[in-house]
């Protein structure tokens, strides 16, 4: 354990070490002028230092009210949960859409197959051979020559 008077090691843990040191009330009063005389060139370390200072001040004078963290944390958790649920719902909806699409496609296929079957029935029924089998026997093969009605008598026509 180091005290404030000890030479400060030039390590990256400089401020952390300082915090630990300054947490003790006796050392805090002696350590205060240090930051003024030796300003830390790295701004990121400044935050830790100010905090420490404020804590020390709060300990010495009237306690300052800390901003409550809970709502912020709850907000973040809420947002994350919301996002997660939305993503889940989206996924489920899409999956449901896929199932629905598959069902609809299956239904379309079946209707198309029914239509194809009926087309086939029509096609088969309209074939000359099928018509022949359904036609009355005296009309199956009428080989009489064609007859025409003319408005005036014409040689060679009936």
């Amino acid at each position: 354990m180091r005290t404030a008077q000890q030479p400060r090691p030039k390590s990256t843990f400089e401020s952390r070490t300082q915090i630990k040191t300054q947490a003790k009330p006796q050392a805090r009063t002696q350590a205060r002028p240090k930051p003024e005389t030796r300003p830390d060139p790295r701004p990121r370390r400044e935050v830790g230092r100010v905090r420490v200072t404020r804590t020390a001040t709060a300990g010495a004078t009237a306690p300052m009210r800390r901003a409550p963290r809970a709502p912020f944390v709850l907000l973040v958790i809420g947002l994350m949960c919301g996002g997660l649920v939305t993503l889940l719902l989206l996924n489920v909806t899409l999956a449901q859409g896929t199932y629905k699409e598959r069902d609809l496609r299956s239904s379309i296929d079946e209707l198309r197959q029914q239509a194809a079957l009926q087309e086939k029935q029509v096609r088969d029924a309209s074939q000359p051979e099928a018509l022949k089998s359904r036609a009355p026997s005296d009309l199956v093969w009428d080989d009489s020559p064609p007859s025409f009605i003319t408005s005036r008598p014409v040689d060679g026509t009936r």
Binding site: T98, Q113, K120, P128, P145, G156, R158
Partner: protein, 576 residues
């Protein structure tokens, strides 16, 4: 011995065990995620990814009115995976499939017994709704694969023209073969990831290359006239106990083939059951000696040369010496004074030889060539023969005479039909066509290019021959059986000796009748040819009735009225 009562030691031991277990897990993790990751990923993808070929729908072949002669319909292939079928249910599966698919139970049971096989086809071309019913039984190891089935609704209708496809859907004969590239289209492919039940997994990788459907081919055939032609020729072939027969009907002004029927005709639905000889289109693939129907070409050459007219009189005996052979008429008769029209009307071989003697062999040969003999007609039907027309330099003494009346050369039925189309069309030969057009990629109809038109003989010669042919169907002609009351019919009978490879010489006859109607303004021409009839063999008695029946039907179907004109008198005999 290790004493574990000391908590520190216990902790250390636990730590070692945990470290060991964790190191095993870590090792496995490195193996799965690092070393084998690619192999495992590929295996997982293989299980998820479904890749399938999307077969292109083959185009239809239709008649001129759009009636389908060949159409592709969706079907299912029912297959078995014998390894998956539960042994206890094999009998039930075999019984059910046998009943549903009209197959023998033993056949299916035998397929089920081959448990080393993973794919055994039970039935092809099953209707999708029927396949669905089979799948609803829920048998494990029974599946239905989507396929296409080529359907020929007419069965034998236009069988020789349409042709058929093999099991793989590739055209093997007829238009199916000739237009295979147009009809086939291009298959597509798709791959996607599926779940256990075959449903697509959303938001996963999928690729799809759409199939390009085949294009439709529209023929010039009229389905109804085709059917009538098939009925008529089949009936006459049966009645005359002939070997085979063909009928061709052509639209004279356009050269479009309206019907092309053969007997026996291949049943396209069961083409495998037909003998190979019956699967072809005889009208273009069978060559024969044309006989008297060929006399019009001799007549055309003689009239065009200016040495003979229709009223030129010949003193015609019933036989004539030609080089080393004595050639005769069909019936013995005393010498007669016949006009050239009379020679054609009564189909005198001797008279035709006498007329042919007035022109050179080369002129006669050139006329044969101009009418299309010795070359394919240009119709584009597969299996078409060019016939046999020896060069005039090689004609022997008697061959020059026999060729004049149609013996010693070989032609196809379509080649003769084309000759009469030329005469009926005022001397202009229109290359016979059978394809009216195809559809393009958007389903729009694209007509086939206009056929080639060639003037072969003058209009005057054509008219003169037409009158001679009309006389041939008249009272004194040989083709009275072809007359259609109310219509002017021009035509020619043909009775040729038939060369038969089986007997190694001339055995039997080829009976032919070919003509057109109305004679003064021809709209349709028809040809009937019957090979080797046993009951009667004259073209005027065997083939002419077929011509009359088919032409009558075609006139009624096409609603072609008579022209109302009277047949001019043609002098057939001169009284000297």
């Amino acid at each position: 011995m290790l004493r574990l009562s000391d908590p520190g030691r216990r902790l250390n031991a636990g730590l070692v065990v945990m470290a060991f277990v964790l190191s095993l897990l870590a090792g496995r993790l490195v193996q799965l995620q690092g070393l084998d990751s690619k192999v495992l990923q590929a295996k997982a993808a293989d299980r998820r990814e479904q890749s399938e070929k999307l077969p292109a729908r083959r185009g239809s072949i239709t008649d001129i009115a759009g009636h389908e002669l060949a159409v592709t319909v969706e079907a299912r292939e029912i297959y078995l995976d014998p390894k998956v079928v539960e042994p206890a249910k094999r009998d039930l599966v075999a019984t059910t499939l046998a009943t549903e698919l009209n197959r023998s139970k033993e056949e299916i049971a035998a397929k089920l017994a081959k448990t080393t096989s993973r794919y055994a086809v039970v039935a092809r071309d099953v209707d999708p709704l029927h396949a669905k019913k089979i799948m609803s039984f829920g048998f494990r190891g029974v599946g239905a694969k989507r396929t296409y089935y080529r359907e020929y609704p007419g069965g034998r209708l236009a069988g020789g023209i349409v042709g058929f496809v093999g099991v793989d859907g590739y055209g093997l004969a007829g238009m199916e073969s000739a237009f295979n590239k147009v009809l086939a289209g291009r298959d597509g492919e798709q791959s996607f990831e599926t779940g256990g039940e075959g449903q697509r997994i959303p938001m996963t990788r999928s690729t799809r290359q759409e199939p390009v459907p085949g294009r439709d081919v529209r023929l010039t055939i009229d389905r109804d006239i085709q059917w009538a032609a098939q009925e008529a020729i089949a009936e006459q072939v049966k009645a005359s106990r002939a070997r085979s027969g063909s009928v061709i009907v052509i639209d004279v002004p356009t050269g479009r083939i309206v019907a092309m029927a053969n007997a026996p005709e291949v049943d396209l639905t069961h083409w495998q059951d037909s003998p190979p000889g019956d699967r072809r289109n005889r009208a273009v693939s069978e060559v024969f000696e044309p006989g008297s129907t060929n006399k019009v070409i001799t007549a055309a050459a003689a009239i065009e040369s200016g040495t003979v007219r229709s009223d030129t009189v010949f003193r015609v005996p019933d036989s004539i010496q030609c080089a080393d052979r004595r050639l005769k008429d069909a019936h013995p008769h005393p010498p007669e004074s016949l006009t050239f029209a009379g020679i054609i009307a009564e189909s005198s071989n001797v008279g035709t030889i006498m007329a042919a003697e007035r022109i050179s062999s080369q002129r006669l040969y050139d006329m044969f060539r101009a009418f299309g003999f010795g070359a394919r007609s240009g119709v584009g039907l597969p299996g078409e023969e060019a016939g046999l027309l020896p060069g005039w330099q090689g004609w022997s003494g008697s061959q020059r005479c026999t060729i004049a009346y149609g013996q010693g050369i070989s032609v196809t039925a379509l080649q003769i039909a084309s000759v009469y189309q030329t005469i009926a069309n005022g001397g202009v030969r229109v290359t016979p066509t059978i394809v009216a057009g195809t559809t393009d990629g958007h389903g729009r109809f694209v007509p086939a290019p206009a056929p080639k038109r060639t003037r072969v003989i003058s209009e005057r010669t054509a008219r003169e021959i037409s009158l001679m042919l009309e006389a041939a169907v008249g009272h004194d002609g040989t083709g009275t059986e072809a007359a259609i009351p109310g219509y002017r019919v021009a035509g020619k009978t043909g009775t040729a000796m038939r060369y038969d490879q089986e007997c190694g010489g001339y055995c039997g006859y080829t009976a032919t009748f070919v003509g057109f109607t109305p004679a003064d303004k021809p709209r349709l021409m028809a040809l009937a040819v019957i090979q080797d009839p046993k009951k009667g063999h004259y073209g005027g008695t065997v083939a002419a009735p077929v011509f009359r029946n088919v032409m009558t039907f075609a006139l009624k179907t096409r609603k072609i009225p008579p022209t109302g004109t009277k047949t001019p008198d043609v002098v057939l005999r001169a009284h000297r």
